[in-house]
Amino acid sequence: MLLLSPPQPQLQPFFTSLHMAALVKPISNVTPKFVSSPRMGSSHSSKFSTIIRMSATATPPPSTSTKPASSKKGNIKETLLTPRFYTTDFDEMETLFNTEINKNLNQDEFEALLQEFKTDYNQTHFVRNKEFKEAADKLEGPLRQIFVEFLERSCTAEFSGFLLYKELGRRLKKTNPVVAEIFSLMSRDEARHAGFLNKGLSDFNLALDLGFLTKARKYTFFKPKFIFYATYLSEKIGYWRYITIYRHLKANPEFQCYPIFKYFENWCQDENRHGDFFSALMKAQPQFLNDWKAKLWSRFFCLSVYVTMYLNDCQRTAFYEGIGLNTKEFDMHVIIETNRTTARIFPAVLDVENPEFKRKLDRMVEINEKLVAVGESDDIAVVKNLKRIPLVAALVSELLATYLMPPIESGSVDLAEFEPQLVY
């Protein structure tokens, strides 16, 4: 699961505007806390592993690292571990998939999906080898920090997916055992991915305290309908990101600087299957797909996810350059392909292949860079906020203009009234 969210506080005004006050209900605020502890099982008592935790305090406490100065490991930026952890109206979810209330649910698709998830294609595939530690030891300087950041963000995103799916699997057990079991099997996949990534962090003498993260995480409330839109997009964009990186590195092995990318082929297929399940969930609730409101929300979530990814990645060009990719070209490829996939279920999608769409994204990047610069300046808080106002206004204006671009009508052929006349 790829939950794209802004790690930088500078992006917060942008996301406040993007997620619309009516949609988002934050439950608790969390900031990361870093605790150094001796690495268990290490033969050298001088070695320490940083366990990253989340604290519900308003401001992050200073790092208490007691790591020897000789070590090459640096502290992790505190703003990184703030991905969106979603929660939803579980009662409404139970009602939506109650087989007694909804007699016309297409259980055939769910049964087929259940068989596919039970097959567990990657049961034996996420097995580490000595390459990991060797590659981690070779990574030095900024590139090392970039990879640590990548592993943390990915691990936290996968873990947040695990938590959501696990809870849905538990809550739907009585009302729809088939759907519940699929959620449980998806949580199995997410846990496997998160665990694999967390093991990767151990190569850098780091570990995410996932147990602590569970208790002290920040939640964003989304209604079930919005969970479907957002998570479908997260899974499908995750597939396109991972398969693109995998195929690029297969064609250009000289950039294969860390072995985790070799696992992306299998990994991304899990993401794709998860997306398929959300596609089936939406098809089972056609009211989420067949009216003008659904079209507006579809476009909104597409915009939200694409812009988030583009702005986030443009702040991390070093990572993509480190593996031989042009960040903007990579992102546009992923956006275009995700949009084409999404057009098979969403009733309307953005016209991302219109050159104006990319121009608007690039303008947003420029504005966001200015916002970041303001945040990093030595000005007092009041001055910073005054400087931010026109920039945030410009960003909102670009977002609105992008949202209002003529959309592309789309959707599953299964739901199309004119399907009997289509030529395949």
Partner: protein, 234 residues
């Protein structure tokens, strides 16, 4: 009221659904219309530098003459405990068995839907790991389509079918691919079920390819073509 809805399918075929009076008259138009009014599933074109030097044509018939693709004629039987079977139970000798399929034009299935390739190879890999007999095949221009006039009149040719004895898996694949037609039929033997009309496939080389990786090789589908019945020596 005249309502026009345009949808571009994988083959770049556009259908225009006209008003009620013309409901049964299917109008086909080329996909040269306004890009904003259609959902394109076309893959980005490929630059010449990334095209392999091999000829981009493939004779479906000639592939069966090559010994590398010849395999013994077997029915799909999973060699695992019955409670772990992922495919339908194998038919007995004289009993007709059910085959499930989904079908669309070859361009869409084999050239544009690149993740389709990944799925088939993932499944083939899994079957190998678990010592299960392959229970799915790709059939180019299958003969069984003659039994489905309502499907054939809606297909751009050449057509490719994904055929399996595992019904739920075909249901899943329909969910994934979306722009495909699906149904099922019975056949006395696997040979009958997978019979095909020899066809040469040729896909246009894309003019532009913006992905940061090369396109999958032409002919990637060979491992999924129907098995060849080995000649019995007297």
């Amino acid at each position: 009221m005249l309502g026009v809805t345009t949808l571009t399918l994988g083959s770049s075929t556009t259908l225009v659904a006209q008003n009620h009076a013309q409901q049964h008259a299917t109008t086909l138009a080329s996909a040269n219309g306004n890009r904003r009014d259609s959902v394109s599933n076309r893959t980005h074109p490929l630059p010449m530098s990334l095209v392999s030097s091999t000829d981009q044509s493939f004779s479906f018939l000639s592939s069966f003459k090559e010994p590398t693709h010849a395999r013994p004629f077997t029915t799909a039987v999973a060699s695992v405990d019955s409670d772990k079977l992922n495919s339908s139970d194998p038919p007995t000798k004289n009993e007709a068995s059910k085959y499930y399929f989904l079908v669309a034009n070859a361009k869409f299935m084999l050239d544009e839907e690149e993740h389709f390739q990944e799925q088939l190879f993932e499944r083939l890999r899994l079957f190998g790991e678990r010592n299960q007999e392959q229970d799915f095949w790709l059939v180019i221009e299958p003969k069984f389509l003659d039994k489905f006039p309502n499907i054939t009149k809606r297909l751009k040719r050449p057509a490719v079918a994904l055929v399996s004895t595992n019904g739920p898996w075909i249901t899943f694949m329909k969910l994934r691919l979306d722009r495909v037609l699906s149904d099922s039929f019975e056949a006395e033997s696997l040979e009958e079920a997978l019979a095909f009309n020899p066809t040469d496939l040729k896909f246009e080389k894309p003019e532009k390819w913006v992905a940061p990786y090369p396109k999958y090789e032409f002919g990637w589908w060979k491992p999924f073509l129907p098995p060849v019945q080995t000649e019995v020596q007297p």
